[in-house]
């Protein structure tokens, strides 16, 4: 077998966390009590997911779930998202969208709100930065979150 150059880069992309979440996505279910929902499509690779949020009267996200199919990166990203946003306010959750998409597209986005939230788990996604063609996979769930939060009727997409 020949030597694989950039082996590291590949392992950065497909970290254990990513593979684990992709294989066993958390909160992979429709939420009957969902107050907010949106669909996200990445036409490049056919990733497609629907995100469900339960938001209470205080504008706090109580629960998040998703359904869909896609590549490991997009599934893992959605799974991580559903673990990140519960117990955040709607404003905070939207700040996560800004923060994560900014970080992955290497734009520096300053959001006071986001700095207060622990996003360390999402570091697992950082490997995509070296793969411009995969950034859209990683950000899809977050765009969909944003669309759901602003009650968008149209579907989110990343192309």
């Amino acid at each position: 077998m020949n030597v694989i150059a950039n082996n590291d880069e590949l392992q950065q992309l497909y970290r254990e966390t990513i593979l684990d979440h992709a294989r066993k996505p958390r909160n992979f279910r429709q939420l009957a009590k969902a107050t907010h929902t949106a669909e996200g499509i990445n036409p490049l690779c056919g990733d497609k997911l629907r995100l469900y949020l339960v938001v209470d009267a205080d504008q706090t996200v109580i629960e998040a779930g998703f359904e869909g199919s896609g590549c490991a990166i997009s599934m893992a990203s959605a799974s991580l998202l559903t673990e990140t946003v519960p117990n955040l306010s709607v404003a905070e959750a939207d700040a996560c969208f800004v923060s994560v998409t900014g970080r992955l597209t290497e734009q520096t986005v300053d959001s006071e709100l986001a700095t207060k939230i622990d996003l360390s788990k999402l570091k697992a996604l950082d490997g995509v930065r070296a793969h411009p063609s995969r950034v859209k996979c990683a950000t899809l769930a977050w765009h969909t979150l944003h669309a759901a939060l602003i009650h968008s009727q149209t579907s989110a997409k990343t192309e």
């Binding site: 690779c45 490991a72 599934m75």
Partner: protein, 413 residues
Amino acid sequence: MSQPQATEANDIAYCRSDFPVLDQAVNGHPLVYLDSAASAQQPAAVIDAVARYQREDHANVHRGVHTLSHRATELYEGARDKLCSFINASSRAEIIHTSGTTESINLVAQSYCRPMLQAGDQILITWLEHHSNIVPWQLVCEQTGAELIVAPINDRGEVELDELRALMTDRVKLLGIGHVSNALGTINPLLEIIADAKQRGISVLVDGAQAVPHMNVDVQALGCDFYAFSSHKMIGPTGAGVLWGREALLEAMPPYKGGGDMILEVNFEHTVFNELPYKFEAGTPNISGMIGFGAAVDYLQSVGMDNIYQHEKALHSYMVSKLKAIDGLHLIGTAREQASVQSFRLNDIHPHDLGTILDHQGVAVRTGHHCAMPVMQRFGLPGTTRASLGLYNNSDDVDQLVVALEKARQVFA
């Protein structure tokens, strides 16, 4: 079928060095280009023909008396002559230059079908089609109240001929069918299908985008009415293509676009359209693209379409035998007649992830729906990974693909 040897597949691989793009490293590995069905690479002869034209002969065509304009027109029209004989059209008037297969099919949908379709009429296609041979018909059906009907395919990815025939009723005005499927490689038995359709008075458009680059095509022998293909799939430049159509049909069709060159006389009361093929070529054409297209035809003919077909067929067989030996790999598309395109899945690795891992190892394949979403739906897949061969590929390319696939299995083990 005896298993082909790797060496057999290398017959014409000497031509590989004519393709400059192939001589590079990608992510630290020699490039293995297995994405010719998306777009083929160009030999230096084509790249240079275009550059030479721009450096020596460029001017607008058809309307000039000066030397450059005359030279440009000769080169541009010369390409038409080459294309005419390449597909054995009966007249150069039948070779309509377009921007590609997609435009060729839209032209037929809008200029041939739209004026004639009535509510209740039908357009017939198959589940194998590329979006370019679906959406133009959906649009014209919406515009006219006609209906789009679709013949199913079987698990090998072959059109169900009985069902196709059963759909060929009086209501069907046109059959749009691919010659070779870009997603699965299936070669349709066109002679038989076209004969059936014509017998029932149904016009036939063939989407030949994936056929013309890989085999001898004779439009007269096929017996169809329209045949569409693209330059960039057959080692020529992007932005150029052909619609071939029977002269009598083209003659009777209204123009598709209005503009310069497609008219004989314009005044505000009435405008006289130009004769074929110019009636369908409004505006300044893609002159350099067509000249490059002509050079591509010259190159293909110098290698020989039969040689190309044999080479790719042998290499495809070799690839299939190697892929089958990979644990967890499932071929998608196993038609009895198949061109040098192979879709597959590897375990439950998503094609997009697989594509990235292969790319890391210098292997360029296409992943996803291949603009053939219905095919993916038929197989219940979000997409496939597709390796497609060109005349410049050799058995080393296949071997590298196999190595890279093994690596992917490890990553996702």
